[in-house]
């Protein structure tokens, strides 16, 4: 009986051990991030992230997500895009910054297959290429409609002038008439 109980316990223990991943966190990868100017200036920069194991083996078919650290509306990560690593372990995205200057880029790998751990790397991109400033397209009839408010403004001023003239000319005429009559009558 005791032997049977020990056998059952042993079998349960073996099953329990068998549930555990054999290679949990076994592989701790590293990411190297870099950027180069694209041949096509409208694309800005090509940001590369190389995902490798500690012994330098490339990890392919892994999803890398790229972010930029921004402070607009509070410090946060702005998602730039995602790419999957190739057989060389390289994932690339094109990125055209909104502004020139230092841009903090983050490349992140979330881990995979329960045996490859997550990894992250940061890179300071000194951007000299940026999106051109937004220029609103000239609207149709813009040359005409730009002037309309000024014409209306002149009209409004003319109306105010007319109102003023009607009031002050009438008041002047009434007051002047009264003064003239008083002068004619002489001192009381």
């Amino acid at each position: 009986m005791t032997r049977l109980f020990a056998a059952i316990l042993g079998a349960v223990a073996l099953l329990a051990v068998g549930q555990q991943p054999a290679f949990a966190d076994h592989v701790k990868p590293t990411i190297d991030v870099g950027a180069r100017a694209s041949d096509r200036s409208e694309l800005g920069y090509i940001i590369d992230a190389r995902l490798r194991t500690a012994d330098g083996k490339a990890i392919g078919d892994a999803a890398i997500r790229f972010y930029e650290l921004v402070t607009f509306v509070g410090p946060r990560e702005m998602f730039l895009g995602g790419a999957t690593t190739d057989s060389q372990g390289v994932a690339s995205i094109a990125y055209l910054p909104a502004l020139t200057g230092t841009r903090q880029i983050v490349a992140r790998f979330a881990g995979c297959c329960e045996h490859i751990a997550a990894a992250e790397a940061r890179f300071a991109l000194e951007a000299t290429i940026a999106k051109p400033a937004f220029r609103q397209e000239r609207q149709p009839l813009a040359a005409f409609s730009d002037r309309v408010p000024y014409v209306v403004g002149v009209l409004v001023l003319a109306v105010w002038g007319l109102i003023g003239f009607a009031l002050f000319a009438a008041a002047r005429g009434v007051i002047g008439g009264a003064r003239g009559a008083s002068r004619k009558e002489g001192p009381a």
């Binding site: 403004g153 105010w160 109102i163 009438a170 009434v174 007051i175 002047g176």
Partner: protein, 443 residues
């Protein structure tokens, strides 16, 4: 007009100045209480924010914008009535012009306050002056309303000058007499003064018409320059102008009838005046009906994607009871009532006017709310139901108009004495036509 009648006219026009009978004080108390309730509701709204109203993210224009358009429209009708009667030199105008002009100013003051009431942060109205965008109709709305307000005040003041002198002369020496004297600018009825005053009034009478048109057109463009279904219409500006004239003339008829009754002006404001004003009401109503049919016909025939749900809601949907009530009870029936020959001209004119006013308010509701509630994005319709705050403010502001009028006519003559003398003089000189105040029986 003989000397005795003219004296009676003068007495009736000025009897309320400085006097207040029981009716006056009761009216003052009731109207002030209603206005105070409106002010309380507004303070409640300012303290808590616009969420206490029925306005919401989808229907952000409700009673306040409806009332703004409605009251400014009434003001327009008052000013136009007076201006047209002056420019056409209608001999029967004398007892009416003062009431029409005062109604215009009172309604304008009330209507002009509504855009501020509609703001959750009324202190930010100053931004409109600090950072004006010349391409925005809202900026031009402010310009048009303020210009029209100044013009209406001048248009009210100039014809008042001789009557201020008459009041001044009837007072004992003292502070009040000095104030009236200053306001009368030393008027003595000299030919040179008459000429100067007539020129000023003439300019204002001509100017007030395009000004009033511009105010209501700009109000209409606030709607029409959007791409919302039911709003984006080229006919909106003339439609608004005509609606304003229609409701304004209706309001003038009612105000004239009330003051006639309360101030005992039956001898001077007769059936003839109401008949003529009814003709004006009918003509404007027919014009409005034509414009409305034209607008709906063209929109419904083309039936653009954005317009179709609005028209469906108005004609057969949830807004259909309001629309058909307005069309039948607020437009067709009152016009027929005013046009029918027979007795009780004044009663019929007043009933028709009351229905027209109610109908025109309903029409503004049908313009503002379905246009806003229409689903521009593919979601369901917006909903709007006013709360007690909006209803109380509306009642309070409506009470403010008669309150302003009874207070105004406690200090100034209710009918233009000078104008009557002038018209009567002209009539006598031209060979004894019927007296300007007379004609027609009295109901």
């Amino acid at each position: 007009m003989d000397r005795r009648t003219l004296a009676l006219y003068r007495e009736r026009a000025t009897w309320s100045i400085g006097h207040g009978d029981k009716k006056f004080w009761v009216s003052l108390f009731v109207l002030s209480s209603l206005v105070a309730a409106g002010v309380y509701a507004y303070v409640y709204q300012v303290q808590r924010g616009l969420w206490v109203t029925g306005l919401n993210q989808k229907v952000s224009w409700g009673f306040y914008i409806i009332n703004c358009v409605f009251f400014i429209g009434i003001s327009y009708g008052g000013a136009m009535t007076s201006a047209i009667l002056r420019l056409t030199n209608a001999k029967w105008r004398a007892p009416l012009t003062r009431i029409a002009e005062a109604t215009a100013v009172a309604a304008l003051f009330v209507g002009a306050v509504y855009p501020i009431i509609d703001l959750g942060r009324p202190d930010r109205i100053i931004y409109l002056l600090q950072f004006p965008q010349v391409g925005s109709p809202v900026v031009w709305d402010l310009v048009a309303i303020s210009t029209y307000m100044v013009a209406s005040l001048v248009f009210l003041y100039l014809p008042l000058i001789p009557d201020l002198a008459t009041t001044r002369d009837s007072l004992r020496p003292g502070l009040l007499r000095r104030i009236y004297g200053m306001l009368a600018l030393g008027w003595r009825g000299l030919p040179s003064q008459e000429r100067a005053l007539r020129r000023g009034i003439g300019i204002m009478a001509v100017l007030i018409i395009p000004l009033a048109i511009s105010v209501h057109s700009v109000l209409a463009w606030l709607f029409a320059v959007t791409v919302r279904g039911g709003w984006h219409s080229t006919i909106f500006a003339p439609l608004f102008v005509l609606a304003a004239m229609l409701s304004g003339v209706a309001a003038v008829i009612i105000v004239v009838a009330v003051f006639r009754k309360v101030y005992g002006l039956q001898q001077f404001i007769t059936t003839k005046h109401f008949r003529y004003l009814s003709y004006l009401l009918i003509a404007l109503g027919m014009g409005y009906l034509y414009f409305m049919v034209s607008e709906y016909l063209t929109e419904a025939y083309v039936l653009e994607e954005s317009t179709a749900p609005v028209l469906e809601a108005i004609f057969t949907g949830s807004y259909a009871p309001a629309f058909w009530s307005f069309t039948i009870l607020g437009l067709v029936f009152p016009l027929a009532l005013a046009a029918l020959p027979g007795r009780l001209t004044i009663a019929r004119a007043c009933t028709a006017s009351a229905l027209v006013i109610a109908g025109m308010w309903l029409k503004r509701f049908l313009i503002v709310v379905p246009g806003m509630a229409e689903p521009i994005m593919p979601w369901d319709w917006g909903r709007y139901a006013p709360t007690w705050v909006e209803i109380t403010i509306t009642i309070g502001s409506a009470a403010a108009i008669p309150l302003i009028l009874i207070v105004f006519f406690r200090f100034f003559p209710v009918m233009s004495v000078h104008e009557m003398e002038e018209v009567e003089g002209a009539v006598e000189r031209s060979g004894g036509l019927a007296p300007a105040y007379g004609g027609g029986g009295d109901d």
